[in-house]
């Protein structure tokens, strides 16, 4: 009886024992992932798109390609002036009402630059005074030729008693932004010269003390980080020669194929925002495609010719830059092959001569607030082209971490589309590891078919279809190892013929998934 009871009890306990392994089963789930409509407005800002007179789209571009500003022309170095002031007599009694004056006249060392006036955009001046007199003093610095918001700049210091071996120190850092500095000196016919007055007096109320001609008060004036906002004078004669590289990062995504453009109109302008005489020369414009290692140099009429740049007009409160336009089109240049090279970087060589004939304006060169010298591009790129296997590649980071409850086994992603662009596309996905090494190619069953194109009206009748990407067990098993996904899209126009894209062209799509997953409870 007891044994029978024990068996029943053990059986009951076993029946309701804890689970030894998870409950698992596979199921198939379909869900939408992403949907939307893409047009050229999603690739190019709307302000850069326009419908041209032939009723198809053009990309317009108006912006500075290259620029240099004032700090290339004028560099005001950090400078410290140190001066001592002392009485001329062997011995003087300093009474409480004692006052002594001195003048300050110091020239800035600026090589060939001869500045008459500077309005500081930023910078600091540090004034430090060392008192060796055996009594209290006060010290006033007046700079009538430095205006701070229209008022002459001055500073007042009070110092305690010091000694030759242990002078008393007072210091002040002043922000010079907005300071209007007249550098013509006291006489008004100098340049690079800063002038002012120093008044030293006793700051004692009762006591007197004695000083000699060896008891000096030393003051240091340090100009730091000065950047001019406006300057007038002679800026010197310079020749700049440089070759610079301009990276076009968005072109990195083009990984292959070719494109044939129809026509192009560019206006390359050199804009001079300084009131000075200059000459410029464009020596090189070369496009480099690092994928194909091909380079195409742009040739146009003004290449390697000296261009005289007029000074800008206007004044401190407003100026108009002078412009020298250079027209580049199909007829006078090789701009089409230059662009069809699909360069991902441009090499620009130039020469710039400032004041090539020296100081011919009697020191009337000016730089204005915001003055720059720019290479300005104004272009219209009609979207009329033929593409043959033009490949775009973009890489995205992914970070997939498996979940113990839900394990993907295999599946498909289906792209259902309505393509309004007269371009066919082959799409390929690649899974890459953290080092960019290829792990798997996710195959597609076919490509995106092009819209039907009318060569006369340039309109397109959209095409519908689906593209299915298959993720088999092997690919899914490696998803955790994949750290990047590369999207390769290869475009071609039908028979590599020329097409023109209208503003109504859209690519409508829905990406949905059908995944077989294993649930583990």
């Amino acid at each position: 009886m007891t044994k029978r009871f024990s068996l029943i009890l053990v059986f009951s306990l076993a029946l309701f024992a804890c689970k030894k392994e998870p409950t698992s089963w596979s199921s198939n789930w379909a869900a939408p992932v992403v949907h939307g409509s893409l047009s050229l407005n999603d690739l190019v800002p709307s302000e850069n798109l326009t419908t041209n007179t032939d009723n198809y789209l053009s990309i317009i571009y108006s912006d500075v390609v290259y620029s240099f500003s004032v700090d290339t022309l004028i560099d005001l170095p950090d400078t410290t002036f140190t001066q001592k002031t002392a009485v001329s007599l062997a011995s003087v009694t300093v009474n409480p009402d004692f006052v002594y004056g001195d003048a300050y006249n110091q020239a800035y060392q600026l090589d060939q630059i001869e500045l008459k006036r500077v309005i500081a955009k930023s910078g600091e001046v540090e004034m430090t005074i060392y008192n060796t007199w055996p009594g209290k003093v006060h010290c006033t610095f007046d700079f009538p030729k430095i205006l701070d918001q229209g008022m002459p700049f001055s500073r007042y210091f009070e110092l305690d008693a010091g000694s030759m071996s242990n002078p008393f120190l007072a210091s002040n850092m002043i922000d010079m932004a907005g300071f209007d500095i007249d550098l013509k000196g006291v006489s008004g016919d100098l340049y690079n010269t800063l002038s002012g007055d120093i008044i030293v007096g006793s700051n004692e109320t009762v006591n007197s003390y004695n000083i000699t001609n060896t008891d000096s008060i030393t003051y240091e004036i340090s100009f730091k980080n000065l950047v001019p906002d406006y300057a007038m004078g002679y800026f010197g004669s310079y020749q700049f020669t440089d070759t610079i590289g301009i990276k076009l990062p968005f072109m990195d995504k083009l990984s292959g194929g070719s494109i044939q453009l129809d026509s192009l109109d560019l206006m390359l302008s050199i804009k001079n925002g300084f009131n000075l005489i200059a000459q410029s020369k464009i020596t090189l414009v070369e496009g480099i495609n690092s994928q194909t290692s091909s380079a195409v140099a742009l040739s146009f009429p003004q290449l390697n010719n000296t261009i005289n740049l007029n000074p800008a007009s206007g004044g401190l409160y407003g100026f108009t830059a002078s412009e020298y336009p250079i027209s580049i089109n199909n007829s006078n240049s090789n701009v089409l092959p230059f662009l069809e090279n699909l360069s991902d970087s441009i090499v620009l060589g130039y020469e710039l001569n400032v004041n090539p004939d020296g100081n011919t304006t009697a020191g009337a060169d000016e730089l204005f607030p915001g003055s720059t010298m720019d290479l300005y591009l104004d272009a219209e790129f009609p979207i009329s082209f033929a593409a043959n296997q033009l490949s775009l590649k973009d890489t995205f980071d992914i970070d997939y971490t498996s979940n113990s409850s839900i394990t993907p086994e295999n599946g498909t992603f289906t792209l259902s589309y309505n393509n309004g662009f007269p371009l066919e596309a082959m799409v390929q996905l690649e899974l890459l590891d953290e080092f960019g090494n290829l792990l798997h190619v996710v195959p597609a069953d076919n490509g995106v078919s092009p819209a039907t194109y009318d060569q006369i009206t340039y309109s397109s009748t959209p095409s519908n279809g689906t593209v299915i990407f298959t993720l088999n067990e092997t690919i899914v098993a490696d998803l955790e190892s994949a750290k990047k996904i590369a999207l390769n899209v290869t475009f071609s126009t039908e028979n590599a013929a020329n097409i023109k894209i209208q503003s109504a062209a859209n690519f409508d799509f829905t990406l949905s998934s059908n995944l077989q997953i294993e649930l583990n409870l």
Binding site: T23, N28, V34
Partner: protein, 402 residues
């Protein structure tokens, strides 16, 4: 001899003669779970783990119908009978004290919900899956009972303090899940509510209190002794539990469609719409407050075998219902055979409850009018077969006269 008092949930019940003067303590254990659609092979995967393959899914899916229920009752009980303590100055009314620990599970899984969970939605694109009347309920409570029993016909009435340990209940009314034919949109229309106590541990969590009344009455139809018929009438768990203020209450009311993320959000680097708040999306409103929950009221009417008559073979039959939405009326009929005074066996066929057709077998053994053992199952097939068994059950009882 003292009779066995019926189990609160289900009788392994033999009516014995009424004359007695001894105290009696009885222990009983009633445990059963069953389903009217899902066989043991399938349910065991959830109980003990394992992989559910396509064949197992398909075999169970073929059986599904309008109601697909899984339920279970588990009661461990001790009763004490004291005939010497008379209530209301009536010599025939003795004191009955009881303690029981009860678990109750009841659920209905609509066919479309099973298919969605087991197969996914990919095979149902273009179809609207009906999730209406999905329901699941669990209660765990203890009863501390006091009452009296009639020594003449062994009827009893008890009132209980119910200590609520833990509970959860969720149900859906009109609810649907739809996947478009091209899987470019999925929509979920949910309407329902749910309740869950704050904690599910420890075992005796004591998160509520309530009361219950149990009535157990035996009608004795007298003829000649050997033709005496005993009809038992029982109402159990007439009461409620008042769960505490930390009980979580949920209301689900949502009509949500998902069409995928918009590519423009990614192009604009706008992650506002790419982050989903699940509770908000599903329209689930959560609040914390007290909740009143009725116990699973049980009604039983049955003919009992009578040990006081000479008949070796006796018919047994009965009806039971539990007032929950997933419980079908339970009917049984069978035979009771007592070849010798100390031993008897009964067998029954039953249909209903949370299950379909089942077969039961029970054994009783008496030792010198002092000791009793009973054991059996109402689901013999379930104990021996995974494929044709749709649940399992085991009952045990013993009493000792002091």
């Amino acid at each position: 001899m003292m009779s066995l008092t019926a189990f609160a949930q289900e009788p392994t019940y033999v009516f014995e003669d009424t004359i007695n003067d001894k105290n009696l303590v009885k222990f009983s254990s009633y445990n059963t779970y069953s389903s009217n659609r899902f066989n043991n092979e399938f349910m065991d995967k959830f109980l003990f783990g394992g992989a559910i393959d396509q064949e197992l899914k398909d075999n169970n899916a073929k059986r599904l119908g309008r109601m697909n229920t899984i339920g279970g009752e588990f009661e461990q009980r001790v009763d004490s009978y004291s005939p010497g303590i008379n209530l209301f100055k009536k010599e025939h009314l003795g004191l009955k004290l009881s303690f029981s620990d009860n678990h109750y599970i009841s659920s209905n899984i609509p066919t479309d919900l099973f298919n969605l969970a087991m197969y996914g939605n990919a095979g149902y694109q273009g179809d609207s899956l009906d999730l209406t009347f999905a329901h699941a309920q669990y209660q765990h409570y203890q009863k501390f009972s006091v009452g009296f029993f009639d020594e003449r016909n062994l009827s009893s009435i008890q009132i209980s303090y119910v200590a609520g340990s833990k509970a959860a209940e969720f149900g859906l009314s009109s609810s649907h899940f739809y996947t478009s034919p091209d899987a470019d949109s999925v929509s979920l229309d949910l309407s329902g509510s749910g309740v869950m106590t704050d904690r599910f541990s420890p075992y005796w969590a004591f998160q509520g209190g309530g009361f219950a009344i149990d009535i157990d009455y035996n009608f004795i139809f007298e003829g000649k002794v050997k033709n005496r018929q005993i009809i038992n009438f029982k109402i159990n768990n007439l009461g409620a539990v008042f769960w505490n203020r930390l009980t979580n209450n949920y209301v689900i009311q949502s009509n949500t469609a998902f069409n995928g993320f918009d590519i423009q959000d990614f192009l604009n680097d706008d992650t506002t719409d790419t982050q989903i708040d699940l509770l908000d999306t599903l329209g689930i409103t959560e609040s914390t407050r007290r909740y009143v929950d009725f116990l699973p009221v049980e009604l039983v009417v049955q003919k009992l075998p009578d040990n006081a008559i000479d008949q070796k073979w006796q018919a047994i039959y009965g009806f039971k219902t539990i007032m929950v939405p997933d419980y079908f009326p339970y009917l049984y009929a069978g035979a009771y055979y007592r070849p010798i005074d100390e031993f008897s066996v009964s067998s029954r066929l039953s249909y209903g409850g949370h299950a379909g057709l089942r077969m039961g077998l029970n054994f009783n053994y008496w030792v010198k009018d002092k000791l009793y053992f009973g054991a059996g199952t109402f689901d013999l097939l379930g104990l021996v077969s995974k494929k044709i068994g749709f649940g399992r059950g085991f009952n045990f009882a013993m009493y000792y006269k002091l």
